[in-house]
Each structure stands twice: as structure tokens, then as C-alpha cells.
């Protein structure tokens, strides 16, 4: 599978769609996680205590001790959606260009081909996650310097935990995107169905769970709420960041991690099964 992984990495590295989606996510995360809140803070920082908005809370969320949870907070709704798109794009192209046959004639073993692709996606997502966290860290350092405030950086274990959490959420979403692209044999349809699930169905379930206790169980099994639970666990205050849409905390970090890992395993398994059973015509 090493050869397949190297092949897929070469293909992904030279694919404009990967750079566009990955770059867009890094840019959006920077803009909505750091730049916009900082600009808002600049506007409201001189407001008297008790007026609308809390400048201290706002700038506090941008400082180094909380930048990591602030970044992971963006994953339940926005990051997972973009990573689902990335997964669908990376696999759906094979149907668009009819390249499955070309690949499989070269290399026996359909499972190896799918798992090689998944491994390449995992590497790509790790790079994207690293870039997003690095950009946020740089912006956080800038915000601290410009605002004249200081806060400690998270320790290495927390930093690795944060990167791991963001990567796991990304992998879960990308695995769903990959599976949908294989199931529907198309990129566009996979993205449409995937986004409808992540943005509409998951948020609906999450919203209704507030009034329907019967939905608490299913809510814990969703990608967004599990991602929110991980982000909340990374926050030094341990509180849900309600200023970012889609962030809820429904379980502990271990349960959330297991749920997300199950998504990866199940959807990769289904992808392998589909590719292995289907005719390639």
C-alpha cells in the first residue's frame, strides 16, 4: 500500500481542488476565528461595563491560552463541512475522469486502492490541520501583542491534543464525503447530500434535542456535537463557546473521540466494501 499512498500523495499535491479547499478553510478559520473577532474587539473595547458585548471576554478568546479551543470550535459546523467536501473531491474525481479503471488495472487489490486513498487523505488533512492551527497561533500571538495582553501558550500535550482533535473531526467528515462520492459515483451529489446531513440534519437534531430528551442519545452519535464536545474539553474554562454556531457539548472527550473514530472506520469500511463489490465500467 506504500506505493498507492505515494501515488495518491503525488496526485493530491498537484490537484488544484486540494489547495483551494484547504486554503479556503485556513483563510476562513483565520478570518472568522481571529481577524473578525479582533476587529469587533477594536470597535467595542472602550464600551462601558455592562453594555452589549463583553470586550474582555472577546479578546480573551483570542489569546494564546484559548486559541486552540477557539480554532477547534470552528470545526463542528464549518471545518467538518469543508473537510467533507475535500474527501468527496479527492475520491469523486475518479468517477468524473473515469480513472478508477486505469488505477485498478495497474494495481491489483481494490481494498488497497481505497485504503491508500484514505491514507493520503489522512496526510492531506493533517497538513491542512497543521496549517490552520499554525495560522491561528500566529494570529493569536499578533492579537496578544497588539492588545498588550499576555497569556500562557498551551503545553505540548494540549497542543497535540488540539491538533489531534481537529484532525479526527476532519477525518470523520472526509470519510463520510469519500463514502458518499463512491456511493453516488459523483462529486457534486456527494457534496450536496453530505452538506445537507452535516448542516441541516445534524443541526436540526441538535436543536430539537434541547426540547426532546429522546434525541439526546442520537445527538451524541453525530459528528458536529462530538466535535463540539472535543472543542469544549480543550477550553481552559471548560465552557461551551456559544458565540460560534453549531458548538454544543454532549459528551466527554473520550466518548466524542470514539464516536468520531467509529465514523472513520465504518465509512472507510463501507467504501472498501462498495468498491470491492461493484463493477468498474
Amino acid at each position: 500500500m506504500n506505493g498507492v499512498l505515494r501515488a495518491e500523495l503525488l496526485s493530491a499535491r498537484k490537484r488544484p481542488g486540494v489547495w483551494v479547499v484547504g486554503g479556503a478553510w485556513a483563510g476562513l478559520a483565520l478570518a472568522f476565528g481571529m481577524v473578525v473577532p479582533y476587529i469587533v474587539w477594536l470597535i467595542i473595547r472602550n464600551r462601558p461595563q455592562g453594555s452589549a458585548g463583553d470586550p474582555d471576554k472577546l479578546i480573551g478568546g483570542l489569546l494564546p491560552d484559548r486559541f486552540l479551543s477557539g480554532t477547534v470550535d470552528l470545526y463542528p459546523m464549518f471545518g467538518s463541512a469543508l473537510m467533507l467536501i475535500l474527501g468527496a473531491v479527492l475520491v469523486g474525481g475518479e468517477y468524473r475522469w473515469g480513472t478508477w479503471g486505469t488505477l485498478l488495472v495497474q494495481r491489483p487489490g481494490r481494498s488497497a486502492a481505497v485504503l491508500g486513498k484514505a491514507a493520503a487523505i489522512a496526510v492531506v488533512l493533517l497538513c491542512v490541520t497543521g496549517a490552520v492551527v499554525a495560522c491561528s497561533a500566529a494570529a493569536s500571538a499578533g492579537a496578544a501583542a497588539l492588545s498588550g495582553r499576555s497569556a500562557p501558550w498551551p503545553d505540548a500535550a494540549t497542543l497535540l491534543g488540539g491538533i489531534g482533535a481537529a484532525w479526527l473531526v476532519s477525518m470523520a467528515a472526509a470519510s463520510v464525503g469519500m463514502f458518499l462520492a463512491i456511493l453516488l459515483r459523483a462529486t457534486g451529489a456527494a457534496i450536496g447530500v453530505g452538506l445537507m446531513w452535516l448542516l441541516a440534519v445534524e443541526n436540526l437534531v441538535s436543536g430539537l434535542a434541547g426540547v426532546l430528551p429522546a434525541l439526546h442519545g442520537p445527538e451524541r452519535l453525530l459528528i458536529g456535537p462530538s466535535a463540539g464536545s472535543l472543542a469544549t474539553a480543550l477550553d481552559p474554562t471548560g465552557k461551551v463557546n456559544s458565540s460560534i454556531p453549531g458548538v454544543v457539548s454532549v459528551s466527554g472527550p473520550v466518548t466524542a473521540s470514539i464516536v468520531l473514530a467509529v465514523y472513520v472506520v465504518v465509512f472507510l469500511g463501507l467504501s472498501v466494501r462498495l468498491i470491492s463489490r461493484r463493477d468498474m465500467s
Binding site: 503525488l10 473515469g98 480513472t99
Partner: protein, 324 residues
Amino acid sequence: MPDGDETVIRTSGLTKRYSADTGVFDLDLTVRRGEVYGFLGPNGSGKTTTMRMLVGLIRPTSGTATVLGHPAGSHAAQRGVGALIESPAMYPHLSGRDNLRVLARYADLPPTRVDEVLDEVEMTAKADVAFRAYSLGMRQRIAVAAALLKDPALLILDEPTNGLDPAGMAGMRELITGLRRDHRTVLLSSHLLAEVELLCDRVGVIRRGRLVADGTVEELRQGAGGGWISVAVDAPERAAELAARLPGVRSATVVDGELRVAADRDRAAAVNRFLVENGVEVSELRCAGGSLEDVFFELIGDQGESGDEPRQQPGTERAEVVNR
């Protein structure tokens, strides 16, 4: 029947049923080591489906297929097979070279192999251009290069000359001739029957998913009654009597006031000489029938499988007969 070592492809009752009359049905095919086997049939007759089954992209409904002594599509079989099936499918954003690098990595081949096959298909100079910018002929060359990557013992080529200009076609013929010289086996599907006639040791004709003929071109010609020589003469009845005595002449009849001599075209000069020597005035002589094209049309009937145009009148001209 050849022994196992000499048989590169063997299918037995191979069937892929899409509907009652669509697919491949009960196909028994044998391709021997070192031969170039022409696989002919109109569009939709099942050629590509058969080829896809041979490389494991499609699973048969029933029957068996072995390739290089192993089940079709198995790891062991795939190691020795290179294939170009239907149109060249590559990544448009990658260059020809990068496409081949991806495929070489898939097959665990050294990167030097990419340069070798690029050289073999004469694409080294254009190897770094994006695949999407290639002409159809260039794409076809890159796809052939991909099929050659594994230095395969068996090459499955589905219409490899599609989109090639005359020079490209000549190059492809040379390539296939070279492969035969190297004792490699080639399963070739093409609509260019003259090309198949030139290149192939044996030919199989498939119609509506069933193999309707299999043998050397000469065997198919004989099976279809061979060719004939039409002669315009002043005394057709007498000429027919005379011509029937000539060695190599199967029969001589008068059709529409013209002498029709059933014989191979290489007997034409002898027929002419014999008639003139016996006082028959010959005003016109032409060879007709007996080409692979004639045999092909006789076997597949007057129309292709998927709404192809009716056949062109069989005659002396050899031309591309399907997808006109």
C-alpha cells in the same frame, strides 16, 4: 487445444448478463502465447465488456476466465497484464509524465520505467504538458505508455489507434509488431479491419455478446466462401466453362451477364491470361469479396448492434467499417 503454458487467455462459458440480449454470453475464447489476436465486433457487441472482465474490472455473471494461468483480475494475473480499455482515462491536471508516475507508483515500479515508456511512445518531448492540453492522439499515446509500464506479457488494447493520425497509426502498428517480435501476446480490438488483417495472427468475431467466428484470417475467409473475381467478357457462358477448369478456381458462374470466378484474388492474372489465350475477350476484371471486411459483414449481418449505419457495399476498397 493448446496446453496450459501456451494459453495466455482462456475463457469458458464466460457470461456477463446485463439483460436478456445485452452483455456477453457463453464466451469460449483462447489466446495463445506470442500471438496477436484481433477481437472484432460492432459497437455494443461485448468486446469491451469482455476485456474488462479479463482485467478484473467487471465480474462475470457466470463462467470462468484465466489470464496467464491465473483467475482474471487476481493479483497474479494483473502483474503481467497491461491494458488500454476504451478512451484514455487520466488525471487532466497532471502532466503525461506525472500521470505515468502515479500509475508506476501504484504498480510499485521504479520511476525510470516512466521515461522508458515515454520514449517508447515518442512522448518524451511533450511529457510535461498537462494531460488536458493533449490532442486525442497524444492522450492515446500516454494511455498506451501506461499499458506498457509493467512491461507486460499480455497487452489488452481496446481500439488503440482511435484518434491517431496516419503517422500515429503506423507507429502503433510498428509497436504491436515489435511486441509480437518480443513474443508478447496482444489482444487487440479495432475497427480498422485492414489493420487487424495486417497485424493479427488470429481473429475472433463477436456479435450480440457471442463469439461467431474464431480462427486465422485465412480460415475465416475460407469459412465465408473466400473472394471472387468478376470478369466482363464477350462470351460469359463459354468463359465460365473455361474458367472452371483452372486450378485454384472453386466455381465459375455467370451473374448478371458477367463472369464470376470464385477464387482467391491472387488467381486473377492467371484467369485473365487463360481466358485471353482461349480466345475470350476480356474488357474488365476486378477482385471482390474475401477481405476481412467482407467476412466481418457476413458474420455480423447487415447492421451493427447499436444502430450503426447499414454496411457499405463490400468491394475492393478496405475502409473503417464501424463508426463511420
